[in-house]
């Protein structure tokens, strides 16, 4: 053994010195194997303290450093920086928390001192097994692939494209605009007329840094943040494929509507003049709101929440667009009788309620009802329903418009497989953290925005696209290298049996299987060092750098001795 370990105990003013007998600690520790020096200092995190520590590392030619002070959350990084400055690899350092875990927890000074000694021993035995780890730097490509040419994808492209960043916008249909292009108008406070959308489409088409690939689909994606490769297949160009290199990906594949045929009591597909919301959007866009017999309707029922119970969630936007429909019907067909059948009115945005109140004033009927059933009766549609208290009622209307739940678009699961992204139980893409990280995925550099993540309105979709752009603009800076995690997993080839259990637990898609060698392989650029694979590997072939079994074993052994 030729380690020269330096152990430094911080007094933290009176915080540690008054509750732990530091001199006794030093006396005991100084005789531990490999320890060259054991000293105390008033406040190691102060500038004086940091300079002192750096000088000591150099003067004593330390090979390893142990600092006994506060929580790693407070000052681990501080002391790692001191190591770097003093020319010691920062991973040859261990911080032992004797403040929060001993001084502040244990009132008996004798006992606290005893515990502190144990913990410092644990740190010393662990640090001797530390390996110097080196930060890697990788070149990155700033260009971005956006999958989906709806309003979300368009917004992201506009936000990202620039002279030093190219954007590939892949759309599977022949034109840009997605669902929004099918609408006859937007809510007055959310875009109103469609000129806003047209303007955005035009901007993206005229942007020389955006390459638009319509009638195209993503066939394959490999790689990691900063260095992805994607294969795009064009349907129009005789199934020609194109390979592109990008640094990040945004999935903006939108939604479709739940098929109301799945719920027979709404009569959709059987009863004449029962439409779904998109059919009515298009009918309104054509300017001809007519029944099958060519006459304009005199009465219309708007049915909310179609498929809400079946899907298990509220789609948020249906109440508002149904009100939009009602107001449009009144404008276009004066004297028409419009009734809205709803379960709960969901009006969560600040301008929503006024919009609803105005509709109510215009004489649109709002009826809270359940157990709705639509039946054909004398050439009309009879809407039978139950109101609060269970009372049955019915009205006959000329036309019924259903507001079905928003569900994931066709190719969601196919794309999830290509990109190795998880879906949630509703079938939409799953965000990495529902609260704190609502547009990121477990795959670094891959984001999802808009209705591909779940039902939302147009402004929210735009916000998410700008958010994904923000994440990309801050993490993929042209000319700047990226630094992957260093405390990653490594697989020892000689022990790997090729069972592939690790592949199934890796949340980040960092492990692949080398068919030729018959072993699993970790991509260190993707691995984030969570350790799931280490725990699950039945043959003990995987170890986590900086958290190896011997390191953990010795540390725990000393702490418990």
């Amino acid at each position: 053994m030729n380690e020269k370990i330096g152990v430094y105990v911080c007094e933290c003013g009176p915080n540690i010195s008054e509750r732990i007998d530091i001199d006794r600690v030093l006396e005991e520790i100084s005789s531990a194997e490999g320890v060259k020096v054991a000293k105390k200092f008033g406040l190691l995190c102060s500038n004086d303290g940091k300079n002192y520590l750096a000088d000591e590392i150099k003067k004593e030619e330390l090979t390893h450093l142990v600092v006994a002070a506060c929580s790693p959350r407070e000052h681990e990084q501080t002391f790692m920086n001191v190591c770097l400055e003093a020319g010691l690899n920062p991973y040859l350092f261990q911080l032992v928390n004797i403040r929060e875990q001993c001084a502040w927890m244990i009132s008996d000074k004798e006992e606290a001192t005893r515990m502190a000694i144990k913990y410092i021993y644990a740190g010393i035995s662990r640090v001797t097994l530390h390996k110097p780890l080196l930060k890697k730097e990788l070149d990155s490509i700033p260009d971005v692939l956006i999958i989906g040419g709806g309003i979300s994808g368009i917004e992201a492209a506009l936000c990202l494209a620039g002279k030093d960043r190219k954007v590939y916008l892949v759309e599977k249909t022949e034109s840009l605009g997605g669902m929004v292009k099918k609408f006859f108008e937007l809510l007055p406070y959310q875009g109103s007329n469609l000129a806003v959308i047209e303007e955005k489409i035009e901007q993206v088409q005229n942007n020389e840094n955006v390459e638009i690939l319509t009638s195209s689909e993503v066939e394959d994606v490999r790689g990691f943040l900063g260095n992805f490769e994607a294969v795009i297949k064009s349907k129009s160009n005789g199934s020609e494929t194109k390979e592109i290199k990008i640094g990040a990906i945004i999935v903006a594949t939108g939604f479709k509507l739940f098929d109301p045929k799945n719920i027979p009591q709404y009569g959709y597909g059987k009863i004449e003049n029962v439409l779904d919301a998109l059919e009515f959007e298009q009918m309104s866009a054509s300017g001809k709101i007519l029944l099958k017999n060519g006459n304009p309707p005199k009465s219309v029922a708007l049915i909310h929440c179609v498929g809400r119970n079946e899907k298990g969630y509220c789609s948020k936007v249906c109440c508002l667009y149904s009100i939009k429909f009602a107001r449009h019907l009144q404008d276009k067909l004066p004297g028409i009788d419009v009734s809205e059948f709803y379960s709960d009115l969901c009006l969560p945005d600040k301008a929503d309620q006024d919009y609803f109140e105005e509709a109510k004033k215009k004489g649109i009927h709002f009826i809270r009802a359940d157990n709705l059933e639509l039946k054909e009766k004398d050439g009309k549609i009879n809407v039978e329903y139950k109101v609060a208290g269970g009372k049955k009622d019915s009205i006959a209307v000329d036309m019924a418009i259903l507001a079905p739940a928003m569900v994931p678009s066709e190719d969601t699961s196919k794309l999830a497989e290509i990109l190795n992204l998880p879906l949630d139980e509703t079938g939409f893409f799953k965000e990495v953290h529902e609260m704190l990280d609502p547009i990121s995925t477990p795959i670094e550099g891959v984001y999802v925005s808009g209705c591909a993540l779940g039902p939302k309105n147009i402004p929210e979709s735009i916000i998410q696209s700008q958010a994904a752009s923000g994440k990309i603009l801050s993490s993929l800076i042209p000319g700047k290298k990226i630094e992957p995690e260093v405390k990653v997993s490594e697989i020892r080839e000689e022990f790997c049996t090729g069972c592939q259990t690790c592949l199934s637990v890796c949340f980040y898609g960092a492990i692949s299987f080398d068919e030729y060698k018959g072993i699993s392989v970790v991509n260190e650029a993707i691995c984030r060092g969570c350790g799931s694979c280490v725990g699950i590997c039945p043959s003990g072939a995987i170890r986590s750098k900086h958290f190896t079994y011997p390191q953990l074993y010795l540390e725990v052994l000393q702490a418990l001795r």
Binding site: D344, K350, R368, E460, I463
Partner: protein
């Protein structure tokens, strides 16, 4: 050449998120916070729906990062005094109030609290506990450094000029009574407003009995009661220390007065039932709601779960709270128009989210407009939902209108995205 620096006003989840993204991108960020700590309202919540994660724990790493990021310069106890100029070249004056405690020297040991002779109502705890004139807002506040309240400190307000109890107790020479308020000049290319929300004062709606009947609480008071770092250390008890046996939670308090639905109250009220069922399993709980507003792909499932635990959900038309012979009762008309009442030991009100207290003056200082409801308005009609009418000035989070945590975070990331996109 556009100035690449950014001013972020408010250090709640939205302000922090935007600052971190901008800081990571290499922009210099000036983060202005009027309180003595960062984290905004989220750090008051013990657990957040729908996954019941500990909010304080979720946000703490972000707070740490804010304190450690070299590109982010934090100004606590600070407010914007003046804004001039235009996109790419704003000139901003900041008033930074004295903290009287050094952020560099103080290690947060707390030795100074005990000797302070002043006892005050703790606003952070909704007045449910006391604090000293030198104090941190709550255990775990970041930065973990107290501030002296100059209006109540006996030395600083001149009532006892010789008092230096805290200074004597401090081992780190962190206390400096002669610190002065400062005016600072900053130059930035863009500004983000993330000043958050307030709650409608339930006293303004006398029918709910708030501050009249003894055990009527607001949602925020209840959050603090449930919080492990709160005034009761997480014990759900009434003001007399008794455990409540029947609890009414009233939604939509102030909804019709304000003219909008706040979008989050149904869910957090349902969360309260979850808390109550967890801590007082035998309690009778009744949620009084109007329309249940539970959008979001996982929210209905959460509601169903609570419903299945035996919590009553009653739709009301009219509702009021009365106290008779020491008993509180909720008198209401249900969805069928029938009158009924519910005897409750504890009543929790879910008030409307309203613009933060200084919204109006800030709007005037910056020179941008507010909407009809008093929140900052964006160009939403042009589908530019984080941009204000002034080029280079953006809004995120509840300063723009009521929203939940992920909604605020997405908006903050969006604002950061737009800022990076215009300043490059």
């Amino acid at each position: 050449m556009k100035n690449p620096n950014v001013l972020v006003i408010g250090s709640g989840v939205a302000g922090m998120e935007a600052s971190l993204i901008l800081g990571e991108a290499g922009q210099k960020v000036y983060l202005i916070e009027k309180e003595s700590l960062i984290g905004g309202q989220t750090i008051k919540f013990e657990e957040v729906y729908p996954n019941m994660e500990c909010a304080t724990c979720m946000v703490a790493p972000k707070q740490q990062e804010i304190l450690q990021n070299e590109n982010i310069e934090l100004f606590l106890l600070s407010e914007v005094e003046q804004v001039k100029g235009s996109v790419g070249e704003f000139k901003v004056k900041i008033k930074k109030k004295a903290r009287y405690v050094s952020l560099v020297n103080c290690i947060g040991c707390g030795a100074c609290y005990e000797p302070c002779p002043v006892s005050l109502e703790n606003e952070f705890e909704e007045g449910l506990s006391k604090k000293k004139a030198i104090a941190v807002a709550c255990p775990g506040a970041l930065p973990n450094v107290p501030a002296i309240d100059p209006e109540n400190c006996l030395r600083l307000n001149g009532k006892k000029k010789e008092c230096q109890a805290c200074k004597e107790a401090c081992m780190f020479d962190a206390i400096n009574f002669s610190e002065k308020d400062e005016i600072l000049d900053l130059e930035v290319g863009a500004i983000l407003i993330a000043t958050g929300f307030g709650l409608l004062d339930a006293k303004n709606l006398p029918q709910y009995g708030y501050r009249k009947a003894k055990n009527v609480y607001t949602a925020m008071e209840f959050e603090r009661l449930y919080a492990a770092n709160g005034p009761t250390e997480g014990k759900l008890v009434l003001r007399d220390g008794e455990t409540p046996k029947s609890i009414a939670i009233i939604h939509c308090v102030g909804r019709s007065e304000q003219g909008y639905c706040s979008g989050v109250c149904c869910m957090y009220s349902t969360k309260f039932s979850h808390f109550l069922k967890h801590k007082i399993p035998e309690a009778k709980i009744c949620e009084f709601h109007t329309d249940l507003c539970i959008p979001g792909k996982s929210h209905q499932k959460f509601y169903q779960k609570i419903l299945n635990q035996g919590v009553d959900f009653i739709r009301f038309d009219d509702i009021k709270v009365e106290e008779k012979n020491g008993k509180m009762q909720v008198i209401y008309k249900n969805g069928n128009g029938e009158k009924d009442k519910f005897i409750a030991d504890m009543i929790i009100l879910s008030p409307a989210m309203i613009p933060g207290g200084d919204t109006e003056s800030l709007a005037k200082t910056i020179g941008i407009s507010l909407d009809k409801k008093g929140f900052f308005s964006t160009q939403s009609e042009k589908l530019s939902p984080v941009a204000t009418a002034v080029d280079g000035i953006f809004v995120a989070g509840c300063a723009e209108g009521p929203k939940d945590i992920p909604g605020s975070i997405a908006q903050a990331e969006a604002a950061a995205g737009k800022i990076l996109s215009i300043l490059r």
